[in-house]
Amino acid sequence: MSVGALIGLVALNTLFLAAGTSLVWALRGFRGPSEVARLAGLSYLLGLAVCSVLLVVELVVGVPFGAGLVVANCVAVAVAAVLATRLLGRPRTGEEPGPNAVGPVLLTGAGAALAVVFLEAMFRAGRLAGLFEWDAMSFWVPKAKVIYFLGGLDERLFLEIPGQSYPPLVPGFQASAFAFMGDADVVTVHLLFWFPLVAFVAAVAGLLAPRVPALLLWPLLLLGVLTPEVVDRALAPQADLLLDYFVALAALLVALWLVERQTYQLVTAAALLSAAMLTKREGYLLTACIGAAALIASWREWRWAWPRLAVALVVAFVPTLSWRIWFTSRDIRGEAPEAGGLGLFDHLDRAWPSLRLALSALFDADLWLVAAPLGVLAVVLAFVAGARRLPAYAALVTLFMVAGFTWVTWSFPSLPITKDGALNPIVRLTGSLILTFAALVPLLLATAWRGEREGRA
């Protein structure tokens, strides 16, 4: 709760930003300082994703954890980015929108101002928050404490804490915070999750500002983060919202890649999806949804797109093998659904109630305001305007994610059909799609506004 703890958090997250900025520079370059600033949110989340995945692999193989390791990872990533540029050169940035905001810049300022006020209020609310979140108290924070106090994945303690198969990216992230704060400060750790929230808003705004009019961008982006569920849970020391940021930003980058074909977009998406899969088990499901949607949406250019997508998905998946090997070699179960595979057909009576629950949660205005209806409408409008690839991708992401949410409830017959978060994870799951809407809908509406067919040959 001290000033020192806050300084430690700032230092840690500055390292992630620096590592990520080096990566973005290596992947696409910057046209000037304003572009560095515009893409700072993307840089931070990319740096966080890559450094955190690296940390997970190191923890699995037994590298002793400490603040020095975290610093070394960030430095190594930055140095590797610089060396790669020197050795391989940097991909041509190609035709990309310029760094300037579309439309009256004062409107961008107004949208940013509202975001700043909201984020400041979030900071103030989280600064002295006690650890009242049950899952955080029960396993996310204890796992982080184990890594921090004992220098790694202490097998015995990890096996005693609930959620044994849950990936350790978030505990590693929190342990890094403890190391930089100098103490397992379970109060100030809430502010650790403020940085990814800020970065998500900045990343989406930064990527879309040159592509989307401010009047279409900011209302839809702010709507996503002002939903009651995000406001209430964004600073909880848990994995849900961090997963959502990784997934939503990856979905946006894949969408941009389908239209603009910039390599850095797909590479960055792969890194974010890898981090998503090591954040929560649902990360695999959501990655599959995005991957499948992209494959189908790009079927007309399958010779060009499919190999690249396949490589990206494989590259995203490979680092997660380390964790899977760690827990499966220790006979930890709990991964597979209770009614997996053909077992679903023994519970056909749950199919429709599960789908109805997923849709009910998604369109619940008390949870998500009007984000979902506007998302669906934006897809339709983009189709009406003559676009195909982008709205097809967005529609498929939506359909596959809803199917995935349905499958989760359907395949675990012990889960009651309820939106009570203590009994069924459906509300947490739908958050991924809502924040994906926050990222994609401005792009869809811009496409609808322009009335053009997107994409190039």
Partner: protein, 126 residues
């Protein structure tokens, strides 16, 4: 400067962001400077006469505090007791009942002769 100029002015845009960015914290600060809680918040050095006590030590454990209390009683401090620190999670060994600072300071001098170094604090529990 026309309205259109303002709409397209980067300076105006940054001005709006800066104004909003400063307005919220300033409003929040109107309610007082931000606090950084610590266990020392439960230590209240006495600054005036009134109910004053001597604190012989802060401990994380009642058991450890009890050991010091017993030692003090053995030295003649019959009224030494263990009490909570008022919300910071620690306990303290205290001797209460000093009506003024002068009396408390005298007791501090006396205690130092036997190797004890109590602090003088306000006694809110009375």
């Amino acid at each position: 400067m026309t309205f259109s100029d303002v709409l397209h002015s980067r300076r105006a845009a940054w001005g709006v962001v800066l104004a909003a960015g400063l307005a919220y914290p300033l409003l929040a600060l109107a309610g007082g400077a931000p606090r950084f809680p610590s266990v020392e918040d439960c230590e209240h050095p006495a600054t005036s006469d009134g109910k004053v006590m001597l604190v012989y030590g802060y401990f994380d454990s009642v058991v450890r505090a009890g050991e010091l209390r017993d030692r003090l009683r053995g030295l003649g401090y019959e009224h030494a007791e263990v009490q909570g620190d008022g919300g910071c999670g620690r306990v303290r060994v205290v001797v209460r009942g000093y009506p003024d600072l002068e009396g408390a300071d005298d007791a501090v001098s006396e205690a130092s002769r036997v190797g004890l170094h109590p602090t003088v604090e306000a006694d809110f529990a009375s």
